[in-house]
């Protein structure tokens, strides 16, 4: 517990100063806000929630994958992880502390997205639930990439294309039916589906996202068993 707290504090302090990571928590909601106000609200033919839906799924797929990956890859590369293990920090304590901070940052941004989207009442919580689950999936994926990579550079080489596909899948599906069928199994697509029309039944999206989480947790467990953290 002491170690979880230590990791949590370290990560919180670091997040506010880790400019390349922090910027992502600002840019996506900011862009969504600008487009919602200037475009969606002004244009009768565009749903008010379209840009929130678009950027919240991009955020879940990209920013969270990227930060989990970047943080772990950096801690491995600078060998601070090795020092922690020497000091008796258990790998799960490290991951809970660090992942927890990323999760809370993601939750904060999700609330901002919900407010921009103008969701209220039950819709607000439905949207948040889907975002929270999507965030968990993204953090597992990012952590797996971070663990499997030698350094930050090789993490980015894998993480950037993967998160691009995840983040932009919902946009591609707007234009292509085949893509829609394929990307249907991606959690980012399901985040997008719910955000677009939050009055829908969320049972199916939630189940698909949970299946994603299960698959990514298995990936994470395999990555972890293979590489440990040192």
């Amino acid at each position: 517990m002491r170690s979880v707290k230590a990791m949590f504090v370290k990560q919180t302090l670091d997040m506010f100063r880790n400019w390349p990571v922090l910027i992502q928590y600002v840019v996506y909601p900011a862009v969504a806000f600008v487009f919602t106000v200037l475009v969606a609200k002004a244009d009768e033919t565009i749903a008010d929630t379209m840009f929130v839906a678009m950027f919240s799924s991009i955020f879940a797929g990209m920013a969270l994958v990227f930060s989990a990956m970047a943080v772990i890859a950096e801690d491995r590369e600078t060998k601070s992880l090795r020092f922690l293990v020497m000091a008796g920090v258990k790998p799960h304590e490290y991951l809970i502390g660090v992942g927890g901070v990323i999760f809370l940052f993601g939750l904060g941004v999700s609330v901002v997205f919900a407010l921009i989207g103008g969701y209220s009442g039950a819709e607000f919580f439905k949207f948040l639930l889907v975002m929270v689950l999507g965030s968990a999936a993204s953090i597992l994926l990012g952590a797996s990439i971070g663990i499997l990579s030698k350094n930050q550079q090789s993490a980015s080489a894998v993480g950037i294309p993967v998160s691009m596909v995840l983040g932009f899948a919902p946009m591609v599906t707007m234009f292509n039916e085949t893509a829609k069928q394929i990307f249907d199994i991606f959690y980012t697509q399901q985040v997008n589906v719910v955000a677009n029309d939050v009055s829908t039944d969320i049972a199916r999206p939630v189940l698909i996202i949970l299946a994603n989480i299960a698959a990514l947790a298995a990936l994470f467990a395999a990555a972890y068993r293979k590489k440990r953290l040192g």
Binding site: M7, K10, L13, F83, G88
Partner: protein, 232 residues
């Protein structure tokens, strides 16, 4: 007591440690001397259980939480301040955070408490790494080339600090390729060459044994005599 018995370590086909034996007694400063590539860091890694040996036995007489380690400057959080870096460690060990400030003062970083690591000079980072290693007042402290790359004044400061730690009862195991440092600091030393300990004992004893006492004990010439190798 830190002890190695018949330790063998290979990396692939290269035998880096070939039947290494030594004992460092409790409460002393023990120096492991050898040129770079001799296997000093490998010995520390084995003793601190970061590497497995291929043969032999070893012990440090201390639990992991009673052990301090400064391998290099790695693992400092660049965007965190000196105090924040140490607070992370203090939190892990359940020590009060005022220990962080005390540790920083003890290495002469009292004025840099709020500086981020990325704004520190090389020598300051080295001292911060040392502060991190001693924060939890370990019983046994491993220091891998604690003064390499430091200016003489900073090195002297670190020497004093190591002597203070010994005063307080810690066992200090350090590596160096600086013979003067070894003579000045260490109660006993072991000379490592080509994977073997070629000599060990108190510096003055070793020098007498090899007729190498000039005005000051001259370990350097002992090493050259024994091995034909020159230390850089």
């Amino acid at each position: 007591m830190i002890e190695m018995r018949n330790i063998v370590k290979r990396f692939g086909t290269q035998t880096v440690l070939n039947d290494v034996n030594f004992t460092a007694r409790d409460g002393e400063i023990f120096g492991l001397l050898g040129p770079s590539g001799a296997g000093k860091t490998t010995i520390i890694n084995i003793l601190t259980r970061q590497l497995y040996a291929d043969g032999g036995s070893h012990s440090t007489g201390a639990e992991p939480f009673e052990t301090g380690l400064m391998l290099d400057q790695d693992g400092l959080y660049a965007r965190l301040t000196c105090a924040e870096n140490l607070n992370v460690v203090a939190d892990i060990y359940g020590m009060p955070r005022k220990k962080s400030i005390e540790a920083l003062q003890s290495v002469g970083l009292g004025d840099a408490v709020k500086k981020t690591v990325q704004a520190l000079s090389w020598g300051m980072r080295q001292r911060l790494a040392l502060a991190r290693a001693i924060l939890h007042e370990p019983k046994v402290l491993f220091l891998d080339e604690p003064t390499s790359g430091l200016d003489p004044a900073t090195a002297r400061g670190i020497h004093q600090l190591i002597l203070n730690l010994k005063e307080k009862g810690a066992t200090v195991f350090l590596t160096t390729h600086n013979m003067d440092e070894a003579v000045k600091l260490c109660d006993r030393v072991a000379l490592l060459h080509k994977g073997k300990i070629v000599e060990n004992g108190a510096p003055s004893e070793i020098c007498e044994r090899h007729g190498a006492v000039k005005t000051v004990p001259d370990l350097e010439s002992v090493f050259i005599k024994l091995t034909g190798a020159v230390l850089e």
